[in-house]
Amino acid sequence: MTSAPAAYGRVLDLVTRVRGVRGAMLVAGDDGLVVAEQLMEGIKGPAVAALAASLASRLRRAMEAAGVGAGQFWHLQAEQGALLVVPAPSGVVVVAVAEPDVNVGLVRLELLRAAEAVG
């Protein structure tokens, strides 16, 4: 498990090095606060963190209610970009903000690796 802030930076590097990713964050799932971030200018980190964590919490409850188990990966596609989220077992949520034409499979792979690294 990765715990030092510098190591969090390395974890985020895994995600942001993918072409088309505009930023990545580790977010505390319970309170929606930013743990670590690497974002391009113009992305409102605290707002994305709070809303993504809230969404993650509601989706988790919806999936539990539907009896399909815990969510592993969420991809929200918008006109001008995408939000990709992987919840880590520790409660941290790994979030990527990407261009609309990003390689989703590659980002998903790196998000899963990042989630594994943060525990």
Binding site: V27, A28, D30, D31, G32, L33, P46, A47, A49, A50, L51, A53, S54, S57
Partner: protein, 156 residues
């Protein structure tokens, strides 16, 4: 859940904040604990207690900041098992107001409350009358003023 405001300019920003942040209880008051608006409280005695306690906590943290030679703390959060309490000051044209927000952890989060509180501060600043400060309540008028405020806050 009802939202009521003694001063009408507070009502709309407060309703928006409650809806977006998913707050359970909100008090907006002066630094002295004079309540200007409330959401979610059903008993006057609870409003009076919460206002007194909130104002006292703000006064304590302001004093700690003063002793540390720091500007006043921006906000204070206290998280329990099921609820969180967020206490922060906001500058308005009517002077410095204090907001006390109680939120359920399964409905909202500190991040959401912080996020929408920033917007509440902007909205209150824009909506507040610029030409006056809150009327100081004299000791002789205190009981009548308190009674009038509570009647307004609970729609009596």
């Amino acid at each position: 859940m009802t939202t009521r405001a003694i001063e009408p300019w507070i009502f709309e920003p407060l309703v928006k904040f409650v809806k977006e942040a998913g707050a359970r209880l909100v008090l907006l008051m002066t630094s002295a604990g004079q309540v200007l608006a409330q959401h979610g409280f059903s008993r006057a005695v609870d409003v009076m207690s919460a206002a007194a306690l909130g104002a006292a906590i703000m006064a304590s943290t302001d004093e700690i900041a003063r002793q540390l030679r720091q500007p006043p703390f921006a906000a204070l959060n206290h998280q329990g098992e099921r609820h969180g309490i967020f206490l922060a000051a906001v500058a308005t044209g009517r002077g410095r107001l204090v907001a006390l927000v109680v939120y359920d952890l399964d409905v909202s989060s500190l991040g959401l409350v912080q996020l929408f509180f920033e917007q509440l501060a902007v909205d209150l600043q824009a909506a507040s009358p610029k030409d006056s400060v809150p009327k100081q309540v004299l000791a002789a008028d205190f009981e009548r003023e308190l009674s009038d405020s509570l009647n307004t806050l609970f729609g009596r």
